[in-house]
């Protein structure tokens, strides 16, 4: 009699697990709709981000790549309210981020966190490691006294440092160690979503891998969701489930990271991928590279129509007249290019 019950129970469990999986597929933690951020500099308007739409699923890593000035960091900073949005919406956990106030805002400040690029500028030089990591706990009143110190030590150990570092100042640490401290500070408030803004660009190669592996481990252990912003395509591809490519304030392509590499649709993605140096002499000497001519135009007065048209090797007449539509060409593969309309 138990046998049957057991089978039933197992079946039930399986069903529920499956449901959960399906739900996870659909579970959108962050929904960015037509986000725009323009800066006024003197009389000119810099269109740093001009209409970006994407979604981030709970538990995944979304990579955002592009060259300097493409607006990827501005996207990150606008998502976390360091900048106010010029237009568009950011929906985080079902709430419009830019409308939050009071208790809801405090909650948001805990749930979304950021890791910064420059390990030398991201830690206050006059604060001890203990106080740097505990800052979030102090602000949100999460722990005091011994409990506070205990939790900081736990966090330090989580990121591979230890108790002996509590009383030290940031300048005594190496770049990689500082980046770990920055990660511990973000983790202290138990966030769900972490925006990593070029977290490894300033680090040495061997240290980069340490930090990336640490981030991967933390994601697994704590079910974190990442928005990983970087210009290093190979590292982004490695850490991300999906990758979005930005050019001059627009998203031009978004797809699963392996898919994006195997089958880039947008000419810019194609050129970007082919420009990445590969540390293998045979590959480096034989492969065909698409060398883009010229430089990225200014975001103050971007080209009409498709913004990439001035450098695009496959440019057509329509590109200068009509802004290409951002749409899903294939399943989970978004692109904004006239070649596919």
């Amino acid at each position: 009699m138990n046998q049957e019950n057991k089978i039933q129970a197992v079946k039930q469990e399986e069903l529920e697990a499956k449901k959960k999986e399906d739900k996870a597929e659909q579970d959108i933690i962050l929904d960015v709709q037509n986000l725009k951020k323009h800066f006024k500099i003197g009389r000119q308007i810099v269109q740093a981000v001009d209409g970006v739409t994407f979604q981030v699923r709970r538990g995944e890593t979304l990579g955002l790549v592009g060259e300097s000035g493409c607006g990827k960091s501005t996207v990150g900073r606008t998502l976390i309210r360091l900048y106010s949005a010029t237009d568009g919406k950011v929906i985080f956990n079902g709430e419009d981020v830019h409308q939050l106030k009071g208790q809801k805002l405090k909650e948001f400040n805990r749930k979304m966190q950021m890791i910064f690029q420059d390990p030398y500028a991201s830690l206050n030089p006059r604060m001890k490691v203990l106080d740097i990591i505990a800052e979030g706990m102090d602000i949100h009143g999460l722990a005091t006294g011994e409990e506070r110190e205990k939790r900081v030590v736990e966090l330090l150990e989580t990121v591979g440092l230890n108790k002996s570092h509590l009383e030290r100042y940031p300048h005594e640490f190496s770049g990689g160690q500082r980046q770990r401290i920055g990660i511990a500070r973000a983790l202290a408030v138990e966030p769900d979503f972490i925006i990593a803004d070029e977290p490894i660009s300033a680090l040495d190669v061997s240290i980069q891998a340490q930090v990336v592996n640490l981030m991967k481990r933390l994601q697994k252990e704590r079910g974190l969701t990442y928005l990983f912003i970087a210009h290093d395509l190979s590292m982004v591809k490695y850490i991300s489930d999906r990758v979005g490519v930005m050019y001059l304030g627009n998203l031009v392509e978004l797809a699963d990271s392996d898919k994006l590499y195997e089958e880039p649709l947008h000419p810019y993605t194609e050129a970007l991928l082919s420009a990445v140096p590969i540390p293998d002499p045979k590959v480096a000497k034989t492969r065909e590279r698409i060398i883009l001519q010229g430089d990225v135009p200014s975001p103050i007065n971007p080209p009409s129509g498709c913004r990439f048209r001035t450098r695009c090797p496959k440019v057509k007449d329509i590109c200068s007249q009509v802004i290409p539509e951002w749409k899903e060409i294939k399943e989970n593969h978004w692109v904004a290019c006239h070649l596919y309309s």
């Binding site: 061997s206 980069q208 340490q210 592996n213 395509l233 590499y261 590969i278 540390p279 293998d280 883009l292």
Partner: protein, 338 residues
């Protein structure tokens, strides 16, 4: 091929209030005519100090050349006078830097900055120098060089500035060009342009190039020989293929395995090198990499290994090559497509 530049057991230290930081601790390599060698290593490994010592650009104090020699054109550059060095700099050995904006003079037109060196060192008149400068701008791929000649650095984009720097460096046809992280500050697509330009120039002119970089991708693209540095010492050197397909030093393995490659699937785990490089304020007694090395042995902590030859072109400084050492296989991720 004759040797253009030879560095022998170079040692450079910095005197600080707390003591001496031994940045370069016995570096040797040579550079053949028309050859491109890459010095790779992480920040603080001494690669930039080495190159700046060749150019004698480091202020002293705090820097001190503790020993060794740099043989160039029959002279030891560690001993020549500042006046003589001034003649060598720019005409015989030129250098380009990571940040083109800070190495160009913002108040002078790009054209006159190129002309400056030509007039000073080649005793040309103004009209000829201008012609030569425009020719140089064209050579480095700057469109409409006549117009660009009269523009200022801030009117150039990052990539164009680096091209202009290269034009200035090459204007006097130096025998040696030292490129210190020439592509690091540039975006990927611009980086590709500069690498392309450098490869093109390699074919056109006979200048020997010392490329200082941490980016193995760039190395694979343009270098012929590679010198791997760690904590102020050369740990491995060899031909490009030898370093990438048959690396012998665990640090080289680590460098190769800790970088994800675009053409590899993401389920392969990265193998980082644990820990951080030693503080050269107090360098370890034995092999500097021992503390981070998976295969460290007792001897590694005691004695610095001598350089041994893997082949006539490939040298490594590691105790693992000793006959008494256990056999160790490099990690699969480190030997590339093999």
């Amino acid at each position: 091929m004759s040797t253009v530049l030879e560095v022998r057991n170079l040692q450079v230290s910095f005197k600080t209030h707390g003591g001496e930081v031994q940045a370069v601790r016995g570096v040797s390599f040579d550079l053949k005519e028309g050859e491109t060698i890459a010095i790779v290593g992480e920040s603080g490994c001494g690669k930039s100090v080495t190159s700046q010592t060749i150019m004698r650009l480091l202020p002293s104090p705090p820097s001190v050349i503790k020993g060794g020699e740099i043989l160039f054109d029959g002279k030891d550059l560690t001993k020549v006078s500042e006046k003589e060095m001034e003649k060598i700099r720019g005409t015989q050995i030129a250098m380009i830097f990571q940040d083109p904006m800070t190495s160009l003079n913002p108040t002078m037109t790009v054209g006159s900055q190129i002309m400056e060196g030509i007039i000073k060192h080649q005793k040309m008149n103004k009209a000829d120098a201008k012609k030569k400068a425009i020719e140089m701008l064209r050579l480095v791929g700057i469109p409409s060089p006549e117009k660009r000649f009269n523009q200022y650095p801030h009117q150039f984009s990052g990539g164009m500035r680096q091209r202009a720097m290269i034009a200035i460096a090459l204007a006097c046809a130096p025998k040696v060009l030292i490129a210190d992280e020439p592509t690091t500050a540039l975006d990927v697509t611009i980086q590709a342009q500069i690498i392309d330009l450098m490869k093109d120039l390699q074919k056109k002119i006979k200048t020997s190039i010392i490329l200082i970089t941490h980016d193995l991708g760039v190395v694979a693209d343009i270098a012929e020989r590679v010198v791997v540095m760690y904590a102020g010492k050369v740990v491995e050197s060899g031909k490009l293929e030898e370093i990438f397909y048959n690396p012998k030093h665990p640090y080289t393995w680590g460098l190769l395995a800790s970088m994800p490659r675009l053409d590899q699937t993401s389920d392969q785990e990265l193998l980082p090198i644990p820990g951080t490089p030693p503080d050269l304020f107090k360098p370890p007694k034995g092999c500097p990499f021992a503390a981070r090395c998976k295969h460290a042995m007792k001897i590694c902590l005691e004695e610095m290994p001598d350089t041994t030859e893997v082949s006539s072109t490939h040298q490594v400084a590691c105790w693992l090559t000793h006959p008494m050492a256990p056999k160790v296989e490099p990690p699969a991720a480190a030997v590339g497509g093999e």
